[in-house]
C-alpha cells in the first residue's frame, strides 16, 4: 500500500507545484493580492506531500516490501534497519526523492521565514521555485519512479552497495543536496529580482543568509564525503578529482564567489549584474552536477545506473531553467543599476579579485572535468586529464587568494591607502614567517610544500585573528555574528591549508609483510600484529587483524583492520583501522593473505595533520552558519525608513567596518 500512497503524494505535490509555478506569478504581475497570498500555503502543502512520499518509500524499506522494485534492488533481509533507512537515498530514484524533499524544505523555510519580504517579491521567489519543482517532479515520475512494482516480488532483495553501508553515508548526500538545492533559493531571488526589473540592495541582503546556509551545507557535505572516502575507500587519499567530486566542488567555488559578491552588492551596490549572474551560475552548476552524475556521460565511481534518457531530460530541463534565466538576464541586465566607482586599493577591488580567482577556478575544474568530452568533440584524439592538472592549476590560482585574503577585511570600501592596510598586518606577517620556520624545524618537515603550507595557513589565521581582535575592541558589543562567522571561515581556510600541505608533503606509507607475532617499527611507532581472527557481521564475514601499537614501551592503541566479504553480490571490502589524532593519523589496511604461514600484506600509513583538512572545512562551514544567523540580515529595513535617511550617511549600516 505504502508505494501507492507515495505515488499519489508525489502526483499531488506535482499538482501543487504546478499551481505555485503559475498563479502567484500572475498575481505578482497583475498586482492581485489574493493570488500572491496563495504562494506560502501552496509551498507548505507541496512540502507536506513530498514528506508523505518520502515517508512512504522509507516504510517500504523498513517493511522489506520487495514488490517495490527499488527496494528489491537495494535492500535485503540481512540489512540492519538503519541502513535500510539510508538505502532510501542509496541510489538514483530515492536520492532524487531526497533531493526533492530538501528542496521542498527550503521552499517551506522561505515561505515561513520571509514574511517580511514585499509580497510580490515573495510570490515571484516561490513561483520560480515552483517551476523548478515541476521539472524535477516530472523527472522523477516519468523517468525515475521509485514506487514502481514488480509482481510477484522476489523473496529477498539484492544488497545495498557495501561502500554505502557506512555511517558517513547517512549524512553525506543529504548535506550535499541541502547545498545544491539551497542555491535554488539564491537563484529564485535573482530571477524574481530580474522579473521585477530591479536589483535592490534589500533583497540581496535577504538572499545572503540563505546563500550562506546553502553554501555551509555544501561545505559540510563535501567535507563529509572527503572524510568518508578517506576511511571507507581504503585508499588514504582525501580528494581524487573524480568527476562527481568535481560536480560538487564547482558549485561550491561559484557559491564562494557569490557570497562575497553579494556582500559588495548589498553594501555598495556594486557588481549587481555579476551577483545575479553568479546566483544563476551556482544553481546551474548544481543542475549540471546532477546531470553529470546521472546521465553516464562521464565514468565515475559514483555513477548511478546510467540512462541517456534521464540525461536528456535533465539537459532539457537545464536549457529551460538556465537558458531562460540567462535570456531574462540578457534582456534585463542593461537596465540593472550600477554602483558607485571604486579605487584600485579598496575592498571592492579585493573582493573583485576574490571573485575572479574563484570563478576562474570553477571554470578550470569544469574544463578539466569535461575535457574528455571536448577532446572527443573536436576530434583531437584521446588524452586524459589526471589529478596533476587539477592540483597544479589549483595551487597556482589559490596562492594569490591566500596572500591577499587577510588584507580584505582591513581594507576600506571605495578607497584606501596601502600603508593603512598593511600596517596592522605587519605583526601577523612576521609572526607567520617565524612560526612557520620554527614549526617546520620542530616537525623536521623541510619541504617547500610543507613550509609554504604552514606559512600560508598561519598568515591566514594570524591575519584573521588580528582583524577579529581589532574589531572586537572597536565595538562595545564584541564581534558581531557576521564578522565572527567570517573570521571562523577564514581561519578555517588556514587550518585546511596546513592540513592539506602536511598530508601531501609528509605522509608516510609503507607496505609490509607481517605474520602474527611479528612487529614493524616506523617513525617511533611499533605496529605489532597479534593474530588474524575470523569475525562475522550481520551480512558479512571478515578476516580481522588484531594490532597493538606501541610508542616506546607504552601501548597507545589497539587497531583491528578488516577484510570483509559481503554475502550478497560476493563483494570484498577493506575496512581500514584508523587511530585519529590531532597531529597524525595511524592507518592500517589489510592486503592479501600471502601464503599458508598466515602472513599478510599490510599497508601502514602515518598521516600528519590530516584531521586539519576536515577540521578546517568544518570551521569554514560553521563560519557560514554563524554568519547566516546574524540578525542584521533579517531586520526589516523599511523603504520609508531608508528613504527618510537617504540624506543621512549610511542609515545605521556600518560600511567601513562591515564584513565582506
Amino acid at each position: 500500500m505504502s508505494a501507492e500512497f507515495g505515488q499519489i503524494s508525489l502526483i499531488l505535490a506535482l499538482l501543487l507545484a504546478g499551481v505555485l509555478a503559475v498563479v502567484p506569478l500572475i498575481g505578482a504581475q497583475r498586482g492581485n493580492q489574493a493570488l500572491m497570498r496563495l504562494a506560502p500555503s501552496l509551498a507548505i502543502g507541496h512540502f507536506v506531500f513530498l514528506a508523505g512520499a518520502f515517508a512512504a518509500l522509507a516504510v517500504a524499506f523498513i517493511q522489506h516490501d520487495f514488490t517495490v522494485t527499488y527496494v528489491a534492488l537495494h535492500s535485503n533481509l540481512l540489512l540492519p534497519w538503519f541502513y535500510r533507512l539510508t538505502a532510501v537515498w542509496g541510489s538514483h530514484e530515492g536520492s532524487l526523492l531526497l533531493w526533492m524533499l530538501l528542496f521542498g524544505g527550503w521552499m517551506l523555510a522561505v515561505a515561513v521565514f520571509s514574511r517580511s519580504l514585499p509580497r510580490p517579491f515573495l510570490a515571484r521567489v516561490l513561483s520560480v521555485m515552483g517551476i523548478i519543482s515541476v521539472g524535477f517532479l516530472l523527472f522523477i515520475l516519468l523517468t525515475s519512479n521509485p514506487f514502481e512494482r514488480i509482481v510477484p516480488g522476489p523473496i529477498d532483495g539484492q544488497d545495498l552497495n557495501p561502500l554505502l553501508q557506512d555511517p558517513g553515508m547517512i549524512f553525506h548526500p543529504p548535506l550535499l543536496y541541502m547545498g545544491y538545492v539551497g542555491f535554488a533559493v539564491a537563484f529564485a531571488f535573482a530571477i524574481a529580482g530580474l522579473i521585477g526589473g530591479r536589483i535592490e540592495r534589500d533583497w540581496v541582503r535577504w538572499a545572503r543568509p540563505w546563500t550562506m546556509a546553502a553554501w555551509a551545507s555544501l561545505t559540510f557535505g563535501i567535507a563529509l564525503g572527503s572524510w568518508w572516502a578517506y576511511y571507507e575507500l581504503g585508499w588514504g587519499g582525501w580528494w581524487f578529482w573524480d568527476p562527481v567530486e568535481n560536480a560538487s566542488f564547482i558549485p561550491w567555488l561559484i557559491g564562494t564567489a557569490l557570497i562575497h559578491s553579494q556582500a559588495v552588492t548589498e553594501k555598495r551596490g556594486a557588481f549587481p549584474a555579476w551577483t545575479v549572474l553568479l546566483s544563476i551560475a551556482a544553481f546551474s552548476m548544481s543542475l549540471l552536477g546532477t546531470f553529470l552524475v546521472r546521465s553516464g556521460v562521464l565514468t565515475s565511481v559514483h555513477a548511478f545506473a546510467n540512462d541517456p534518457e534521464r540525461g536528456l531530460f535533465i539537459l532539457g530541463f537545464m536549457v529551460l531553467v538556465t537558458g531562460g534565466a540567462l535570456l531574462l538576464y540578457a534582456l534585463r541586465a542593461p537596465r540593472i543599476m550600477t554602483g558607485s566607482g571604486f579605487d584600485w586599493i579598496s575592498r571592492e577591488s579585493l573582493l573583485l579579485l576574490n571573485n575572479v580567482f574563484f570563478t576562474v577556478s570553477a571554470a578550470m575544474v569544469l574544463l578539466g572535468t569535461l575535457y574528455p568530452l571536448i577532446i572527443d568533440f573536436m576530434g583531437w584524439g584521446q588524452i586524459s586529464v589526471g589529478p596533476p592538472y587539477f592540483g597544479a592549476m589549483f595551487i597556482l590560482l589559490m596562492t594569490p587568494v591566500v596572500v591577499l585574503l587577510p588584507l580584505g577585511p582591513f581594507t576600506r570600501w571605495k578607497r584606501d591607502q596601502t600603508v593603512r592596510v598593511l600596517a596592522p598586518l605587519a605583526l601577523a606577517a612576521v609572526f607567520s614567517i617565524l612560526s612557520a620556520l620554527i614549526i617546520c624545524a620542530v616537525l623536521d618537515a623541510w619541504s617547500l610544500r610543507a613550509f609554504s603550507g604552514w606559512l600560508g595557513g598561519l598568515w591566514l589565521i594570524a591575519g584573521t585573528l588580528a582583524y577579529a581582535v581589532r574589531t572586537a575592541r572597536a565595538s562595545r558589543r564584541g564581534l558581531p555574528r557576521h564578522q565572527l562567522g567570517m573570521a571562523l571561515a577564514h581561519a578555517g581556510v588556514g587550518i585546511f591549508i596546513i592540513g592539506a600541505a602536511m598530508v601531501e608533503a609528509h605522509t608516510f606509507e609503507r607496505d609490509v609483510r607481517l605474520a602474527p607475532g611479528q612487529a614493524v617499527e616506523e617513525s617511533g611507532y611499533r605496529f605489532q600484529l597479534d593474530e588474524v581472527a575470523l569475525v562475522k557481521g550481520p551480512n558479512w564475514r571478515a578476516e580481522e587483524g588484531r594490532f597493538r601499537i606501541f610508542r616506546g614501551e607504552r601501548e597507545i592503541a589497539q587497531m583491528n583492520p578488516q577484510k570483509r566479504h559481503y554475502y550478497r553480490g560476493n563483494q570484498t571490502m577493506t575496512e581500514v583501522a584508523l587511530r585519529p589524532g590531532l597531529f597524525r593519523d595511524l592507518y592500517i589496511a589489510m592486503g592479501e593473505q600471502l601464503d599458508d604461514s598466515g602472513a599478510w600484506s599490510v599497508r601502514l600509513h602515518i598521516k600528519p595533520f590530516v584531521r586539519w583538512i576536515w577540521g578546517g572545512a568544518v570551521l569554514i562551514g560553521l563560519g557560514g552558519l554563524v554568519s547566516a544567523s546574524d540578525r542584521r540580515y533579517r531586520q526589516k529595513r523599511k523603504s520609508e525608513q531608508a528613504a527618510a535617511s537617504r540624506t543621512a550617511p549610511a542609515s545605521g549600516q556600518p560600511t567601513a567596518q562591515a564584513h565582506p
Partner: protein
C-alpha cells in the same frame, strides 16, 4: 545588450557539448573504436612483476585474450574489480592486465590489497601504447581473437550485464580457435 548575451552564448556552447557528449556516450562506452576489426597495434611493454621482462604483441597472438586497462588511481576500476576477479576465474580465455599511467609501487600495493585477477600484466606508465590502442579512459576492456584482431571493446567498468556479455563473447572467441 551584446555584453549581456555573453553568458547565454557560453551556456549554449556548453549545452551543445553535453548533447553531443550524451549522444556519443554509449558509443564511447561500448563499441565504436576505429580499431575494432583491425589488428592490435604493435607494442613491447614491460611486465608488472619484472620491469626487465617484456611482453610484445607477438607473444599474445595465437590465443584469444582479454585486455583490461586499469590504474590504481582509477576509482571505477575498484568498482569493477569483483567482476574482473570473476572474469579471471571463469572466462575461457586469458585475462591480461594493462596498467595505465600508474606508478609501479601504487599498482603493486593496489594488487596486494584487492587481489591479482590478471594472469599477466603489462605496464604502460607513459601511456604511449594506450594512445595506439585508442584508450579513452580507465577502465576499458578489449577482446582480441587468436589472429590478433580486436573484436570488442568495453569502455567503463564491467558490471553484471557487461560481465555476461563479455563471457559470451569470450566463449565465442574460444570456440573460433577450435
Amino acid at each position: 545588450m551584446i555584453r549581456a548575451l555573453i553568458p547565454l552564448g557560453v551556456f549554449v556552447a556548453l549545452i551543445i557539448l553535453l548533447v553531443v557528449g550524451l549522444q556519443t556516450s554509449e558509443e564511447r562506452k561500448l563499441i565504436q573504436s576505429p580499431l575494432i576489426g583491425k589488428p592490435i597495434p604493435e607494442f613491447s611493454l614491460p611486465t608488472m612483476q619484472d620491469p626487465e621482462a617484456r611482453i610484445t604483441h607477438n607473444d599474445l597472438i595465437g590465443e584469444p585474450f582479454m585486455l583490461n586497462v586499469w590504474g590504481s588511481w582509477c576509482w571505477a576500476c575498484r568498482e569493477e574489480h569483483p567482476f574482473i576477479e570473476r572474469l579471471g576465474r571463469e572466462a575461457p580465455i586469458e585475462l591480461i592486465g594493462f596498467n595505465w599511467k600508474d606508478r609501479r609501487e601504487d599498482a603493486l600495493a593496489w594488487i596486494e590489497r584487492y587481489g591479482n585477477s590478471w594472469s599477466r600484466q603489462v605496464v604502460d606508465f607513459e601511456g604511449q601504447t594506450a594512445i595506439d590502442l585508442g584508450v579513452y579512459g580507465a577502465p576499458e576492456t578489449f577482446l582480441v581473437d587468436h589472429r590478433g584482431i580486436i573484436r570488442h571493446k568495453l569502455v567503463g567498468p564491467v558490471n553484471a550485464n557487461s560481465f555476461d556479455d563479455l563471457m559470451r563473447r569470450a566463449m565465442q572467441l574460444r570456440a573460433e580457435t577450435q
